[in-house]
Amino acid sequence: MSGNWIRADWDVMEALEVVGRSQENEAPHAGAAGRHARVSLSLHDLELWRGDYCVCTNLTTAVHSGQLLHLRGSNGAGKTSLIRVLAGLALAEAGEVRLGGEPTTQSMTAYRAVISYVGHSNGIKRELTPVENLRVTARLALNPSTSGPESALERVGLAAHMNRYCGELSAGQRRRTALARLLVTNAPIWFLDEPLVSLDYEGAGLVEELIREHLARGGITVLATHQPIDLKGLEVVAVDLPQGRAQ
């Protein structure tokens, strides 16, 4: 038991060290405007099954700072299953995910310190206001943005609604609150699973802008969507998940 606690504390210290080193090597973090340290994310011989259905096998690819990994496929192709594996929320049958060449399973805490995830569910509490939700997010992050939740909410167009209960907000506004979490955590790797759901035309444009800014700062985005999104001019590594095996 005590060993687990010591290990957990050690992992947090290690993760803090990684974040600290990146701040020394790169331009200092100035909230969302700071540059991220160089990172790379790679998949090696990944094999994933969902029941009897093979989502992918021998999937090997890599993305580096400033690049976007686009998981493409129709409904049921397994995009969500794959992105959950990449984020460390689920296990693959075989293969591994590596951060900077090191398997993420060797230090999940350090990995969790550099990722931010927006999934199908928004991950916000309806009983709390957007600011209250993001305040907890900031506390849980190891390297949160210095500009705070209010600034993140302003960026996603929720300045006028930051003190209303999330339960009173529209589905699109709740989605924007979830997107603001990406800015608050200040993580270099974003996982976005169908981020355009519930968003209007302007909201979809916001997502594109956020992704562009993130990549320009040296971040990585892993995007799973079947909806049209403008990725012109971005360095995109595409993974197609047809009915059968990944290419």
């Binding site: 038991m1 687990n4 606690w5 957990a8 504390d9 992992d11 947090v12 993760a15 984020a87 460390g88 929320l89 689920a90 296990l91 805490t109 350090a110 969790r112 310190a113 990722i115 995830y117 999934g119 199908h120 569910s121 928004n122 991950g123 916000i124 509490k125 309806r126 009983e127 709390l128 209250e132 305040r135 907890v136 997010t137 506390r139 849980l140 992050a141 190891l142 209960y165 979490r181």
Partner: protein, 220 residues
Amino acid sequence: MLKELLKRELLIAWRRPGEALTPVAFFLVTSMLFPLGLSPSAHLLRPLAPGIIWIVAFLAGMLGLQRLFRADYDDGTLEQLLLSPRPLTLIILVKAVGHWLVTGLPVVIGGGVVAAMLFVPPRYIVTVVAGLLLGTPVLTMLGTMVAALTVSLRQAAVLGPVLILPLVTPVLIFGAHSTTLAMQGQSPAQAFEALAAMFILSVSLLPAAAAVALRISHEG
């Protein structure tokens, strides 16, 4: 970080008062049914009081426990907690403490009222309250572990009580025994020591077990 998480738990409970008050309301109302159903006689109710208090306190605790992780699972905040670089063990401990403060502490206080209603002599009411103060956190911690294990299961409402029943039996025995001993003029110290040992063990071990259970059940 821990303070902010605890504040969040309490704030959510405050803004969802119906859910938070259900366990203590159940505890008080169900306990009131015994004098009505059996007999309002002190001679009959007094020896049964310790057992009634502890069984109803356990059942009241079970009411809210299924929601401990289920609400977070449904709205996606559980995923965010699992992806946090902070120790999940500590996060679970904070959630359990918040849950006990909202649902367990009112039952401890209500325990004094119920004891008086069941004709426990006033000088032994403090024994009832002290026993509940030591025992209800253990019930909460055991419930937390079972809730973590069953969070993604549809049958959690049925499976949870079945899994937890053998685990809580010692707590119920020593909890009820402490008051019975006191009412018989004997020292309840040994029963309290057993409850204290269970309290220390559960608070130090079960959050880590619940963290593992939560990751396993969520990965599935």
